[in-house]
Symmetry: C2
Subunit: 287 residues, 2 copies
């Protein structure tokens, strides 16, 4: 089984290239796809910083690449975009595709502890396997300069991964993140199945619980949230995170955007601000 | 059957709204959907000019709205985008869905003359029914200020509709258009089935044939074509149109874009230039 990524498509955009790769993931025990957007390179030896984008429930590695328009700002700012898939696929675990908010397409960026879901180790895949793979196979990437962002379940992933790895990421941002999964139905369903009944284990993957442990978060956390998002009050709960940041004295810029919903139309509207937020942190880190 | 459009979805983007509508089309004899992007309005009485976008083979009214990112420039330039579907649907004509390049999703923006395909009247739908409907139902639109653009089969549609209706459209542009369908396999298959065997009838829907009749095309025609487009040499044939424009002394800006393919990644990269091309012509027409 080939663990090195094979290029399966390539398409020019904004002077750079969207490229899709396939590889066998030892962490997840299955074949996975991911996308990279490479900006136009100023020289053959140029090394780009990277921005990981974690997608939301039901998404694959394609949604962000097709719908966000992020390549425009990534091209002008010189940031590589990395878009992984959202769960293992093709393992045929009983019930894995029964619901849109659990199993396939719904990895929640954690390491499952329950035997049945033992392949669901998206946390290790994103934090460990993928950076090592990228560093080994793509010499044009400087994976030591990395930031992370995401949408909804992926916003949850970006925030929790960042808070647990402040040494690995220069900055974080999120669109409509699930900031307090221990207190919403999506999170409770996923955590019960992946992590079991012990709620102390759940808190390791809850940004609002994690933030209270940190007082030296170096960069401002940027969050955009649509006010007409139908999941705002039941699932996303940004005010819980805002309150926890205030208590922990963590700098947060939470922007409530009137009229916007939970879709990629919202993301496309504000993605440039996020790319620039990360480019600033990534370029500062080079000095 | 309701001929007035019913709103079936609405999503904010770049300060304006993507709205999808459904209506019964008397021209086509079936229910149709279309999208409108409304830019943010400077005042309740403001009237926007409109840009029709005709999509390519296999597309619906959704592809351009989801993938092009055209709303960014449409918002800043104050141009409404109209994205219709590409054929009648749901009529259950025998064989209508047998191929991806004919029948459903492949209306070729003509009025079919063959009995079997009598509902395929996308030319009349785009040129007559839709503008009247928009004018009657959306007072914020000034449909007397209209331009037209499109991709591939839709680029063919935009060019032929423009050339046959110079009084109705202020400007035209296209991405990767089928400019000479009488000389390529896609066109020959469609025209044989929709129009019958008389090639003189085909020329009425061939931009390269039509351009030779016109010497007073008022605005420069803008075409972008990717040089790595796999359909370039067999189906698209832009050099045939370029030569015909040269002979007819019609102003054409044909930009060959190195490395770009036939996809929406190409369209997204250059759509702003097209929106500005049309905005200039539409705003001039107001003076």
């Amino acid at each position: 089984m080939e663990t090195k990524p094979t290029e399966i498509s390539s398409s020019k955009m904004f002077g750079g290239y969207n490229k899709r790769y396939k590889h066998f993931s030892p962490t997840l025990g299955c074949s996975m796809t991911f996308h990279i957007y490479f900006p136009p390179s100023p020289s053959p030896s140029h090394k780009f910083p990277v921005l990981y984008w974690l997608s939301g429930l039901t998404c694959t590695d394609e949604n962000f690449i097709i719908k966000s328009g992020a390549q425009r700002a990534a091209s002008s700012e010189g940031v590589v975009l990395i878009a992984p898939d959202t769960s293992p696929r093709g393992l045929n675990v009983e019930g894995e595709a029964d619901s849109w908010d659990f199993g396939v397409g719904a990895g929640f960026y954690l390491n499952a502890t329950q035997e049945k879901w033992k392949n669901w180790r998206m946390y290790d895949y994103i934090v460990k396997e993928l950076p090592t793979l990228l560093s080994e196979c793509f010499p044009q990437l400087d994976t030591s300069r990395a930031s992370i962002s995401g949408h909804s379940m992926g916003g949850h992933g970006a925030l929790t991964i960042y808070l647990k790895n402040l040494d690995k990421y220069k900055s974080v941002s999120a669109f409509s993140p699930i900031v307090n999964p221990t207190n919403c139905a999506w999170g409770q369903k996923a955590f019960t199945n992946y992590l079991g009944g012990n709620k102390a284990d759940w808190e390791e993957y809850d940004a609002t619980c994690l933030i209270s442990k940190f007082h030296d978060v170096p960069a401002t956390i940027l969050i955009d949230q649509g006010e007409d998002d139908k999941f705002l009050h039941d699932q996303l709960l940004p005010q819980k995170f805002e309150e926890a940041c205030r208590i922990a004295n963590v700098p947060l810029l939470l922007r409530l955007q009137p009229g916007y919903d939970h879709s990629y139309n919202f993301i496309a509207t504000f993605i440039d601000d996020h790319i620039r937020h990360h480019a600033q942190a990534l370029n500062l880190s080079r000095i």
